[in-house]
């Protein structure tokens, strides 16, 4: 499946549009990682515990968006965007959305 942030796919034509497709995920690390990340606040540097958390959530949201597109019969998603928000402390929420399309 082609996933792109642009409005069209170079060299291909959009044959059919299925409207918005989206996927969201909220994940947390365990308390031990939260404690280590909290201690990192004192000394500075990258919080690997949360970098990993963010990456896991991003990929899960992306997969869910692609699954939504597939269920609509699409073979590509264009104009993909990410959004994030904060629901719970220590948790990451990602929303991935775009337009599900069928390419010629």
């Amino acid at each position: 499946m082609i996933v792109t942030t642009s409005d069209n796919v170079h060299g291909r034509e959009i044959q059919e549009s299925f409207g918005i497709c989206r996927g969201s995920a909220i994940r947390a690390r365990h308390m031990g990682k939260d404690i280590l990340a909290g201690l990192k606040n004192i000394v500075g540097g990258e919080m690997h515990e949360y970098s990993k958390l963010l990456a896991e959530t991003r990929e899960q949201a992306l997969d869910r968006m692609m699954e939504d597109a597939r269920s609509k019969g699409a073979d590509a998603v264009v104009a993909v965007r990410y959004a994030s928000t904060s629901i719970s402390q220590g948790a990451a929420e990602f929303l991935a959305y775009g337009t599900a399309v069928k390419l010629s």
Partner: protein, 151 residues
């Protein structure tokens, strides 16, 4: 099921699981496979394995200079001992402290029986809820393909 064993001739189920994980199935076949995932634990585990491979490959990271330093540090005996001792000490300390607070409250003769019962109910309830959440996480962990992602 040994997923690490390389089978030169993949079975029909393996091919189906791979195609599902790669998103290569037609909608009808995908729905059929999704139904099997819901009903057959072995097939669900197989799909989760291929999804994990797919996600790990997709998110393969380039090595950053600080990764080397971090990896070296994590192998050093002093660092490992510090972390192990730190966790052990903190865990034992917290559990012992809360057990002592709990015991002191229950032994407090100035407090009537009702608040003690409420405290017992609250603490016991929270502990049971924690156990159920932990059990749920352990149950779903083998099916979660995102745990190997680094960044």
């Amino acid at each position: 099921m040994n997923e690490n064993k390389i089978n030169p001739e993949p079975t029909e189920d393996e091919l189906l699981a791979m195609a599902y994980a790669d998103g290569e199935l037609e909608p009808e076949a995908r729905r059929e496979a999704a139904k099997r995932i819901a009903e057959e634990d072995a097939f669900a585990l197989r799909v989760a394995h291929y999804q994990r491979l797919d996600v790990t490959t997709r998110t393969a990271i380039s090595h950053e200079p600080q990764d080397t330093a971090r990896a070296e540090l994590s192998r050093e005996p002093l660092q490992r001992a510090t972390i192990s001792l730190g966790w052990m000490s903190a865990t034992v300390g917290f559990i012992a402290f809360y057990a002592w607070v709990f015991y002191e409250i229950l032994q407090n003769e100035e407090m009537s029986g009702a608040p003690k019962v409420f405290l017992l109910c609250a603490a016991g309830g929270l502990f049971l809820l924690f156990l159920s959440v932990l059990r749920g996480r352990l149950r779903e962990l083998p099916y979660d393909p995102y745990t190997d992602i680094e960044r």
